[in-house]
């Protein structure tokens, strides 16, 4: 099953690159994503043997099931999205063949990064996932899309290069204890032997890893690529960037944080992550006010949420880790749902400018109310799941460090205000722009929203126990 999670997308990518019919490939894309999801879900029950290259534990199973689910729903959304893009001629069948192959190759890269037990392999896989998304971001080949892809490319490459430098330093630190060779790069042995590592080398390594993988997470001030990449690529790509790729980079950072946490003499990674998290939150919340492009606005909202998540993991402790984990799952589901609606809305209106969109609940009730629900959820309104996780982060922070809690609260309120202000213009009031009908696939949208709503009202005890266990693992 472990192999199925990576080789299903890889095989499909090869097949999709050869298939000329775009209808067939859209279906194959969905089927592959479904098979991958089934394989990923089975990992939660049946745990394969741990190997030096691949492994699965309670932490990465959360990421991989979430990731496969979002990839599956996105593939359904993508099928209806690209049909429209073909109709208006923004994409040609040749580009679509490329797009589908890249989509599955990205899934391969992300799943491999998530189940890799070797920190070098994890790095290579993340690089692959980055490259494929760069190519998908630039697929429209407009000047803006090329600019976005180029920026993403350069910043992402620098980030990933610095992360590799950090990885090499971790190997150096481990070599002194575990000896030369493959053992010193296997995460499970690393974390076991971490107490004996040279703390100074680990400190230096973590700085590089935080900057490197932090670029991919979109932490301020390393976030410059993120809004452009979200805004200029096809919307399914925006959905997977926010819903998947940011999480994978976060996962990599968490793995290294666990190594550092196991060494008592190394610096505490917490304060660094708290600082960057709060900075991202407040900066992105302020930037939300000045957005004129709808996808760009939700991209900044992703930066804001990644800030909260990194902050929560930086605070550490069972409650904050639990909240961070929940926030991450809820954010992935909600943000990709929002991008599903935004994708169709932008297709109807023929524009992504906020000024061109208005009165959606009147003209397109399903999409309009879907957007209302999504934005309410992302802004942290009850009864949605994000309210619960944000409440937990907030409460826990207040109990431990009120000053940080005040900054967190201000950031959350700022973002809340900006999102609701924009939502009012988008969803209510007089309709603006074209009001033609739209062939939207609302299934993925509502599947996500129902999950987020359900999680806000009642979390299954099994899931709570699981998350609590993972939260303890994270230290």
């Amino acid at each position: 099953m472990l192999n199925a999670v990576i080789f299903t997308p890889l095989g499909a990518a090869a097949l999709l690159a050869l298939l000329p019919s775009y209808r067939l490939s859209a279906i194959l894309n969905v089927v592959t994503a479904l098979l991958t999801l089934i394989a990923a879900a089975s990992l939660a029950w049946h745990r394969p043997e741990m190997g030096p290259l691949l492994f699965i534990d309670d932490l990465n199973v959360v990421f991989i099931v979430l990731g496969s689910f979002v990839a599956f729903t996105t593939s359904i959304f993508s099928a209806s999205y690209i049909a429209h893009e073909l109709e208006i001629g923004r994409l040609t069948p040749r580009y679509l063949r490329f797009y589908h192959a890249m989509f599955q190759l990205m899934n391969f890269g992300m799943n491999l990064a998530l189940i890799a037990n070797n920190i070098g392999l994890m790095w290579v896989a993340l690089e692959l996932a980055t490259l494929t998304t760069v190519l998908m971001v630039g697929i429209y080949r407009t000047p803006a899309a090329i600019e976005a892809a180029w920026k993403y490319f350069i910043l992402g490459s620098v980030g990933i290069a610095l992360a590799l430098f950090g990885t090499i330093l971790v190997y150096l630190a481990a070599r002194g204890v575990l000896g030369e060779g493959i053992d010193a790069m296997v995460w499970t042995t690393l974390v076991g032997a971490a107490p004996d590592f040279d703390p100074r080398l680990l400190n230096l390594a973590f700085v590089f890893l935080l900057i490197g993988y932090g670029t991919k997470i979109g932490l301020v001030p390393l976030h410059a690529w993120l809004p452009d990449a979200h805004a200029e690529g096809p919307t399914p790509v925006s959905a997977v960037l926010s819903g998947l790729l940011l999480n994978v980079a976060l996962y990599a950072l968490l793995r290294f944080k666990m190594i550092l946490a196991a060494n008592p003499a190394a610096i505490a990674p917490g304060p660094l992550m708290i600082t960057l998290g709060l900075l991202s939150l407040v900066f992105a919340a302020l930037m939300l006010y000045r957005r004129r492009d709808i996808k760009r606005m939700f991209a900044y909202s992703s930066i804001e949420h990644m800030g909260i998540i990194v902050f929560a993991f930086g605070m550490a402790g069972p409650v904050a880790n639990f909240a961070g984990l929940l926030q991450m799952v809820m954010h992935s589901l909600t943000k990709s749902a929002i991008f599903f609606t935004v994708g169709h809305i932008a297709q109807v209106k023929g524009s992504q400018r906020l000024a061109d969109i208005g009165g959606l609940t009147v003209t397109h009730p399903l999409l309009g109310w879907g957007l209302v629900a999504g934005v309410a959820a992302i802004a942290g309104l009850p009864p949605f799941g994000i309210f619960m996780s944000e409440f937990m982060v907030m409460g826990n922070t207040f109990a431990r460090d009120p000053v940080l809690a005040v900054i967190l609260g201000v950031g959350l309120l700022l973002a809340f205000g900006a999102l609701l202000m924009r939502l009012h213009g988008l969803a209510f009031g007089a309709p603006r722009g074209p009001t033609g009908p739209v062939e939207a696939s609302t299934l993925p949208l509502f599947a996500h929203l129902i999950l987020v709503l359900g999680a806000g009202i009642w979390l299954p005890p099994a899931l709570v126990a699981w998350f609590e266990h993972v939260a303890r693992m994270l230290g």
Binding site: L128, V134, I146, R175, I182
Partner: protein
């Protein structure tokens, strides 16, 4: 005092830093590409030397990749690009050469200061290689920051990547080095092909990234 193996490794790594400095003040793209090719040759020698002293024959693959791909194929492709784009002319730097060089010296001092004290436990070859590799990485970053031209930013990235490969091969016995260098080569090939495919020149009449900034979505 030190063995021959250390001296040669140290010399080659030092050469890489020197070539990074040379790149900082090249104000013509052609000369910059030559400096990059020279750095790739030195990198390949350095990796080959590591392969000999570590008795790790697989590193010869990385060395071969450095000399074949980075010293020959990529510079040729870049030269074709700049001729095609008609930009084989002066490139502007921000802050002037003197200031950039001073900043570069500061970065080298910083990386030595940061790495040498914390790697006391490692063998001397790794130690020096990592310190100098960090210098090359930081100088590459400096170059990417000071240049406004897309091609020279890419060259800055490649020199940064040379530093990473030096660090990876210098870390004795590190697994997956070959795989990582292959992955990097693919990345670089993508970047170079990217300049071709995106036809930055065709669309913007310039490869000045400041011109790209004007096309940011929000200023439409």
């Amino acid at each position: 005092m030190h063995s021959l193996s250390f001296d040669v490794a140290h010399m080659l790594a030092g050469f890489l830093v020197l070539l990074s400095f040379m790149m900082l003040y090249q104000d013509r793209l052609g000369a910059l590409i030559n400096a990059l090719a020279a750095q790739a040759v030195v990198l390949s020698l350095s990796v080959a030397w590591q392969a000999i002293i570590q008795e790790a024959p697989h590193l010869f693959i990385t060395a071969g990749l450095a000399i074949g791909f980075k010293a020959v194929v990529i510079p040729m492709a870049l030269r074709r690009i700049i001729v095609k784009l008609g930009i084989d002319r002066e490139i502007e730097t921000v802050g002037g050469t003197g200031l950039t060089m001073l900043a570069g010296i500061g970065l080298v001092a910083l990386s030595l200061q940061v790495v040498l004290p914390v790697t006391g436990g490692s063998d001397p070859v790794s130690r020096e290689d990592i310190a100098l590799a960090l210098s090359v990485v930081l100088l590459g970053l400096l170059m990417m920051v000071t240049r406004r031209n897309a091609v020279s930013q890419v060259i800055g990235f490649m020199s940064l990547e040379n530093g990473i490969v030096l660090a990876a091969t210098g870390a004795r016995g590190m697994p997956l080095v070959v795989e990582i260098s292959v992955a990097f080569s693919i990345l670089i090939a993508f970047i170079v092909v990217g300049i071709f495919l995106f036809r930055i020149r065709e669309r913007f009449d310039t490869v000045d990234v400041q011109a790209l900034d004007r096309f940011r979505g929000e200023r439409r």
